[in-house]
Symmetry: C2
Subunit: 191 residues, 2 copies
Amino acid sequence: MARRSGVLELAVLGLLHESPLHGYELRKRVNALLGPLRAISYGSLYPCLKEMVAGGLLATDDEASESAVGRRSRIVYKLTAEGKERLQDQLAEGGPSAWDDDSFGVRFAFFAQTDAEVRLKILEGRRSRLEERREKVTSAFGRTREKLDRYTLELQQHGLESVDREVRWLNELIATERGSVSARPRRVTTK
Amino acid sequence: MARRSGVLELAVLGLLHESPLHGYELRKRVNALLGPLRAISYGSLYPCLKEMVAGGLLATDDEASESAVGRRSRIVYKLTAEGKERLQDQLAEGGPSAWDDDSFGVRFAFFAQTDAEVRLKILEGRRSRLEERREKVTSAFGRTREKLDRYTLELQQHGLESVDREVRWLNELIATERGSVSARPRRVTTK
DNA sequence: TTCGTCATGTAATGGGTTACATGATTAC
DNA sequence: GTAATCATGTAACCCATTACATGACGAA
């Protein structure tokens, strides 16, 4: 049954929720979403789509003879009821898996469809994840600082500043989210 | 013969060039070098070391009975002549493979052992790589800007700023390198 | 007519992880 | 005595890539 990545699956689910698409177009959207790093290829996408169809998450709406003037017949994918349900489940999940480097970007991209409480949880989780990372580096750092050459030092420094910048970004986002969440009564509805 | 990644191999070669090490320690150093992202596990390192030994790049200096008081006998790895040669070749290579996301960090970490001309070439290559990336994003961006929701927009924006920051960093490094290279006569010795 | 883009797919391969297995030593 | 860390290794699996195969359409 091979779950095919989670990230890719989520990206597909989220994009198809907006509108049905065929594979080729879907790939472009996925790559726009994921950014030039971790862009995916056909060799990943098509098998993934097949499995999602087999798993009952997607339905194909073959756009063959009708309306299409020329063109090779495109296979249009759309969410099934089960697919929508899966998407909702995924988006409701704000646990550790959501603040991984891989997942976070995709999760964030679908924040518009995500519950406000969960958004906050993900942002905070992501931040603490980064802070752990930061601490791990700095502690290993203090022990060996003297021994490192200029370049290695420069690299570590730059990496550290990247993390800091990321954390500052998250802080801003969290502040904004808190503002809009606390505006309404905020009854605790955690799951 | 399975080349086992190049990046990992280079990291191992570079670290062992400084001093012989055993696997466990080597792993810690490699992970410090690569950063918490793309940290590697034993399941990667040990098979890689085995292959490098089989390939004649490394020699094992079994630190069993002698000197070691207690402890499980550690296998200490060091570079062979062939290994040193391979390292030099790798470090002399300043082509496109060196400005990949994966490779660049490792290449940079060993800049102290790298020729000044090659350093410059790698930094410039890396920069243009990032600029390509930037351009690709911004062009796909202009076409769809209006249709994107707040969060997707925020994400793209942040990604873009990250790239810009990276480029600025490279600019500084290049300026510094240029300073020290042009200090000496600078006969063009490109390969 | 040839090149770029649209469009779908498969097979081989690659590079890595997780989980497991084993066992000694050190610090509490 | 028991937990953490040191230390080495294997097997099963995962996810993705590359290269290949195929073909139609539009524009230069």
